[in-house]
Amino acid sequence: MRDHSKIIYSTMTVLLAMSPLFLNKYWVDVLNNVGLYAILGLSLNIIVGHAGLFNLGHAAFYAVGAYTAAIFNTRFNIPVLWLLPLCALSAGLFAAIVMRPIIHLRGDYLCIVTIGLGEIVRIALINDIFGITQGANGIFGIDRPSIFGISIRRPHEFFYLIWGFVAVSVFFFHRLENSRFGRALNYLREDEVAAEGSGINVAHYKLACFVIGAAWAGMVGDIFASKMTIISPESFSFWESVLLFTLILLGGSASIPGVILGAFLIVGLPEVFRGIANARMLIFGGAMIAMMIFRTEGILPSRPRRYVLPDESSGESRA
């Protein structure tokens, strides 16, 4: 079973890596969008999927990263790829500061607060806060990224940058979810009181997972800004947060392949349905309901953790 899925995944990876060779610019650019959503999805997955926290304001962190990149790049001419750590830092710091007082809110209260944060950030950007975001116009003239002096401009070139970043993210989040930290998050998702009782500092872990998710989203913001060369507040609307949230649950929450599949669905399906023009979002909405009814846990749900016991007889334990 496991070997089987390994073969499938590696074939898919090879196929994906080769795809720019036989796809035109348009479809490669669609794949680039899928990649960006996949990374954002992975960064949100740690919050929604693993810790079970209701976050419908992820676009706020993404926006902080994108604007950090845009501001530093256009004002101080710092190359965008060098700004990656700074974007991660600013988005992470932002999350730490704003989530600190409200991290103890439960379920749906946390949901509305994250929606509120997303809206506050968007309104602040539109109103040109501190005079640095240039309001609804957005910031334009952001540089394209360059690696070793080669400027990345065309969709095909972006493809390798973005999907390379996806690979790094998959590795990072895979390691993270199998670490002590990841297991602690799962524990507090399943039973917060018991987790607290077992010595897990719940508030601390919740905050930490928000910071990590936000920092990662901030880096995506950097790449997004350099790909678009112009960013404006409408790219970071509530709808964007809803899409990210949905893609996780459609694909399979707390499951890396699930999240990536979710990104394909959420970006790909509306593109594929473009033929039926006006009804495409109607079908999309209907499909969301149907998928949840028939695959409640998402299409590729996360598997229970398996641990091989030292004395050769394999056992299972559920985190």
Binding site: N127, A136, I230
Partner: protein, 372 residues
């Protein structure tokens, strides 16, 4: 790796040229869905109508013209994809689009692929300030509208003016332009703020504005909000005159406000086809009415028709679909072309030359009357 890339690229190119030889492809990037869908649908109808007429009269350079439309959804990211899609299909030029920030997200993509872009509703000044060789627009610029708006306010003799925008790129740009000009002329700006578009109740804003006691209000946003403002202002018994920006040129404004509340409302706009004496305009209106049963909703969609007309005229005149030749023709040789919205010439930045804006007033029947 490079070799493979090169060969696929070459293959695509050959495939595309042999494929595309029978038609000349012109792209249309329009908000077919999303908040500005009605504008986008009009744009599509108009460009398709004109393309149909052109093909009936023998097409272009002996080939048929094919319009390929792509939906920008009124959103920058979707617009970038739409532009990518058109570029991949080897269009000679692309018409569109409506919103300024949406157009901006697509500009680089067209420019890098040397595809001519003719925007129709994007009035933000900076779009043509970048020195892009292949970018044109048939719409006027915000600074011109600001100037005409301020002239009108001056003519009305207002000493205290309230300015209200809606924080969109376009409306804010116009509001800032007007504020700067008015301040130079020693007119007091007693109120300057932005509403949130898409809401229903603007009484809080009107109450606040009323307490600032302006002689007149300049609203630079769009017609759905303006209709509500006019209606709620009437319900509050406040009789301050309103001047609106060019996004108010839409018959729905009257329906929302009601004729009694809309009467006396002034707005700026390029002249609508109905008010143009030229034969092109009246022929176009007749054909549009015959095919779709109505008149075009707003001037912006008609401007996309002009974009199509100048582009095809340039291809015809140069006898070529080469972007450099066509762009050069549009910049330098196309002078006083008879468009649907008046004569068209472009300057070296790609802006439309000449005064376009007029002042309109709503009469007691809810009709838009061109002011002398």
């Amino acid at each position: 790796m490079r070799k493979i890339l090169f060969f696929t690229a070459a293959f695509c190119l050959i495939a595309a040229t042999t494929f595309g030889a029978s038609t000349i492809k012109i792209g249309l990037m329009a908000p077919l869905t999303g908040p500005w869908a009605s504008e986008g649908q009009d744009m599509k109808q108009i460009v398709e109508l004109l393309a149909g007429e052109l093909n009936e009269h023998g097409g272009l350079l002996g080939k048929k013209v094919e319009v390929i439309s792509a939906d920008d959804g009124g959103d920058p990211k979707t617009a970038a994809l739409a532009a990518q899609k058109l570029v991949t299909q080897d269009v000679v030029g692309a018409i569109g689009t409506y919103g300024s920030s949406i157009t901006e997200a697509s500009q680089n993509i067209y420019d890098e692929s040397k595809v001519i872009q003719i925007a129709n509703g994007s009035t933000a000044v900076r779009l043509t300030a970048k020195g892009l060789k292949y970018f044109f627009r048939t719409s006027p610029r915000d600074d011109e509208q600001g100037r005409v708006g301020v002239q009108a306010l001056e003519k009305f003799g207002y000493k205290n003016v309230a300015i209200l925008h809606d924080n969109t790129t376009y409306a804010k740009g116009l509001a800032e332009e007007a504020r700067a000009l008015l301040e130079k002329k020693n007119v007091n700006i007693v109120f300057y703020d932005a509403l949130t578009p898409g809401e229903r109740d603007y009484t809080a804003i009107l109450t606040k504005m009323k307490s600032a006691r302006p002689d007149g209000v300049f609203f630079t946003g769009y017609y759905p909000e303006c209709g509500l403002l006019l209606r709620q202002k009437k319900e509050m018994n406040w009789n301050v005159p309103f001047l609106g920006g060019d996004a108010n040129n839409n018959p729905d404004l009257i329906k929302i406000a009601g004729t009694d509340a809309a009467e006396g409302f002034y707005f700026l706009s390029p002249p609508v086809p109905q008010d143009l004496p030229s034969r092109e305009a009246s022929d176009f209106l007749k054909a549009y009415k015959k095919k779709y049963g109505t008149t075009p909703g707003s001037i912006w969609a008609v401007l996309s028709g002009d974009g199509f007309r100048v582009l095809t005229a340039a291809i015809k005149a140069t006898g070529s679909t080469d972007s450099d030749k066509v762009a050069d023709y549009l910049h330098n040789k196309l002078k006083n072309y008879p468009g649907l919205t008046g004569t068209i010439s472009f300057d070296d930045k790609g802006d439309r030359v000449g005064e376009v804006y007029r002042v309109y007033r709503v009469n007691a029947k809810g009709e838009f009357i061109l002011q002398p």
